[in-house]
Amino acid sequence: MKTVKPLNTKFCKFLKAKNPFGTLEGGSNEFYTFDDANTIYWCVKSLGAGGPDNGPVEPGMCIPGRRCYKERD
């Protein structure tokens, strides 16, 4: 088994995820997205799977350049 490292991408501070193995990603936790096929994403600001701009919430989208993006503290 390989050792995984957290992703370096500057994800939006409001992007959160629950991976299939019970742990949360995003916020003050690192992002791994090591099983993205079964990871659930949501936006803490819009409170759902659609973002504050109505767009989809997922790691590929919740990055710098998006209108509602907010950098992590």
């Binding site: 916020g27 690192e30 993205d36 079964n38 350049g65």
Partner: protein
């Protein structure tokens, strides 16, 4: 860090039990022997809260009553896809008893686009729930109705209405996820494929693997959308006070809920306190603050009063998460000797407006196969979002894989149980197969469809795997007090699994006192941060810190006593409610008297989850190995009516060191019953014409009644790995993965025809038998 060596039990009693030497931090407690030699741990100690629960004294979130409290209700969309031109709340605001209304807005101040029927658009707080419901009827919405799609296959069509059609501003850097977006919509509603995970990506040469195969099985398997139905619905009571928001919550993760609320309101975590004394079940969708947490908090802030917001059963069905469906194409090849040569999987599933419908892990890891590839696609639909649901993706994936493996065994002329011995390298599952088959009476199994008469019996089995995960951000505090109290504190919550009780057992064992003498105060974020209760991580994450904290406290107490007695510390033992100097019979004191003589009024220690012994820990907390499970099912199928009755399930499981066998058995019972319901009854029905879920209740959305629940026999196998001071793991996920497919394999054995789609309803049986 200073290290020491420990000799720990290793292996399976009655099979290969031995010992293993591990180098561990010097602060870790001595190794425990196997359960037989312990007093409290490994025993079916009665749950602390058993009496409170059965007598109704236990206060769940819905039971919380605070002075001046208001009752809130969500105002939801009544169409699956629309733009909102305006919302008029004037009549609702004027309704007597209404104290506050909050409407959700996008970042540009507009109303959000409606993307599923039942999407929350706002909330109303009133002096009673009935008033809130009446006021919601007075809210007028001017919709611009849009086309929608709720069917997973129709949504893949190029001309299908698009769920997330909003263009995202140009992104220049997708970072290590490698995805950038140029502002145009691509691939309609289809997202993916996901082809790999932490457990590996494609391997070998698929084409070559199928060329080498003597036998190939190739089918499409379908599983349904399965909604969340915890006994206690999602919800909170929020009392907003400046600088101190108190949230009573039905939660699987109090710490995560606190963090999210702090982020939402841009306040510090210290200003939010989440309390979850009792939670009435959770299967993966209660890890966040949801939309109900911030809504209740906003209404509380707005009105200056505490706000109660619990969802009803209909809301649970339509918006609080579900297990996504799947359409899985699966092709598996094997040689004459049974060895697998290739596995190809391609799946499409919908988590509604969200993502997470993959099914790949079981195909990827359950059996060794040199050539493997998976493509997992998410399909957006105008339906409520998916959520983690007890072993996400694994239950769906197992339904395909374990039927296909059975079919290969059939083609090779090998008993399916014996075939697993050929292709499965897991030691624990081998023992589970042996012990399970004996208890089940697998030797009674007859050839498929060989029963005479219209009512036929069948037997099947299936197996699964779940990784041993832990959450390293898990801390427990243990304190002893002069008055005799022994307390454990952590924010970890007990969602009905018995976390309180196993924590008490672990600390009681360390102190040599009865479990009932330990108080367990958990489910409160004012205590040290504990893990979430999901992924079967809670027990393995929080019991070692609890034991280690107790050990620190114990050593400090013993040092005080050794100084008083002028004894050598190494001669003092704490057992059977006493502390004694084993070299001098005259030196003995009861545990309670020892506490009275403490130098300070209390001794407190905290401990956090250590890395796994032996260096197997990964950065995010994956221990070595997996938790195996094997389940056997016996069914009766009436081939004239199509009804299936499950007569018996034997479930053989491992969870490391079982801390409380009765609680493990209870979890297995729950997992099996949910698996049975998934196999035969539960499924969400969406109306393609209106976009609504038409069985959002517990009548047409059928759950098993008591008479439909079979005899369930558990086999709990101790499986020592020497990875932590308790060596214990969870059982929540493993208990649920194999049941549905074991039942499907039993149905095949009964009628001689395979059913490739669940739930296995009477019409599917009759169709398979060409009777309708």
């Amino acid at each position: 860090m200073e290290k020491k060596k420990l000799i720990l039990p290793h292996g399976i009693p009655g099979h290969n039990l031995g010992e293993i030497e591990r180098e561990v931090p010097a602060s870790e407690p001595p190794a425990w022997p196997v359960n037989d030699k312990l007093k409290e741990v490994g025993k079916s100690v009665k749950r602390y809260d058993a009496l409170a629960k059965v007598t109704g004294q236990a206060k769940y979130t819905a039971d919380i009553q605070l002075p001046g409290m208001l009752y809130a209700k969500f105002f939801r969309s009544d169409t699956p896809h629309a733009n909102i031109r305006s919302i008029d709340i004037s009549k609702a605001e004027d309704y007597p008893g209404v104290y506050g209304i909050h409407l959700m807005k996008t970042d540009d101040g507009n109303y959000p686009v409606v993307k599923y029927a039942g999407q929350p658009l706002g909330g109303v707080a009133a002096s009673s729930l009935a008033i809130a419901e009446e006021a919601i009827k007075l809210i007028e919405v001017d919709y611009e109705y849009l086309d929608f799609v709720v069917d997973v296959e129709e949504a893949q069509h190029p001309e299908a209405p698009i769920v997330h059609k909003e263009k995202i501003a140009s992104q220049t850097d997708g970072g290590d996820v490698g995805v950038t977006h140029d502002g145009t919509q691509a691939n309609g509603n289809v997202v993916g494929p996901s082809t790999g995970s932490f457990f590996g990506g494609p391997r070998g040469d698929l084409e070559q693997g199928f060329k080498e195969a003597d036998v190939i099985v190739e089918h499409v398997y379908r599983t349904q959308v399965h909604t969340h139905l915890p006994l206690e619905t999602h919800g909170v009571v929020v009392d907003w006070k400046p600088g101190n928001m108190v949230v009573y919550a039905s939660s699987q993760n109090t710490a995560a809920m606190r963090d999210e609320l702090a982020d939402y309101f841009d306040i510090s975590k210290g200003e939010v306190r989440v309390i979850s004394e009792y939670t009435g079940g959770g299967f993966g969708a209660k890890h966040s603050a949801g939309v109900y947490g911030p809504m209740a908090a906003t209404l509380s802030k707005k009105t200056g009063r505490p706000v109660w917001l619990m969802l009803d059963r209909k809301e649970e069905h339509i918006s609080m998460g579900n297990r996504p469906n799947s359409i899985q194409y699966l092709k598996i090849g094997a040689k004459k000797d049974g060895k697998l040569t290739a596995i190809q999987q391609r799946s499409h599933g919908t988590a509604g407006v969200g993502l997470g419908a993959g099914v790949g892990r079981i195909a990827q890891v359950l059996y060794e196969c040199p050539n493997f590839a998976t493509e997992q696609y998410d399909v957006y639909t105008h339906a409520g979002p998916g959520a983690a649901w007890r072993a996400p993706g694994n239950v769906q994936g197992a339904y395909g894989v374990e039927q296909a493996i059975d079919e290969i065994a059939d083609k090779l002329g090998i008993n399916p149980l014996a075939y697993r011995d050929v292709i499965d390298k897991s030691d624990i599952r081998k023992v589970e197969r042996q012990r399970g088959a004996e208890k089940f009476g697998w030797s009674r199994r007859k050839a498929p469809g060989s029963d005479s008469g219209p009512v036929k019996k069948g037997m099947g089995m299936a197996q699964s795997t779940w990784p041993r995960f832990v959450t390293l951000d898990s801390t427990a505090e243990v304190r002893i007090m002069r008055g005799g109290a022994v307390e454990i504190r952590s924010s970890v919550q007990d969602i009905g699994t018995g976390t309180k009780t196993v924590l008490g057992q672990v600390v009681a064992e360390e102190f040599g006192i009865p479990t009932e003498d330990v108080s367990v105060l958990i489910g409160d974020t004012y205590f040290p941060t504990g893990p979430g209760s999901g992924g079967s991580v809670a027990t393995g994450s929080i019991t070692p810190p609890a034991r280690n904290a107790a050990y620190k406290v114990k050593m400090e107490l013993l040092e005080q006593i050794a100084a008083k007695w002028e004894s050598d510390l190494s001669n003092l033992v704490m057992e059977e409610g006493k502390i004694v100097d084993k070299t001098d019979d005259s030196k003995s004191v009861s545990f309670k008297d020892a506490l009275k003589g403490m130098r300070t009024s209390q001794i407190i220690a905290t401990a956090s989850r250590s890395d796994d012994y032996g260096g197997f820990q990964q950065p995010w907390g994956l221990a070595h190995g997996d938790l195996g499970s094997v389940q056997f099912a016996e069914v009766t199928v009436d081939t004239e009516t199509g009804f299936v009755k499950v007569d018996k399930i034997v479930a053989a499981h491992s969870c490391g060191r079982p801390l409380n066998p009765a609680q493990v058995e209870s979890q297995i019972n729950g997992g099996v019953i949910q698996g049975l319901a998934y196999a035969l009854y539960e499924y969400r029905v969406m109306d393609k014409q209106t976009g609504f879920m038409i069985n959002a209740n517990v009548d047409q959305y059928k759950l098993p009644y008591a008479m439909e629940i079979p005899e369930i026999e558990s086999i709990i196998i101790e499986d020592y790995s020497g990875t932590s001071s308790t060596d214990a793991y969870g059982i929540g996920e493993p208990a649920n993965i194999a049941t549905a497919v074991a039942i499907a394999n039993a149905v095949y054995n009964a009628i001689g025809v395979r059913i490739y789609e669940i739930p296995i309803t009477p019409d599917k049986i009759l169709k398979a038998l060409n009777k309708i």
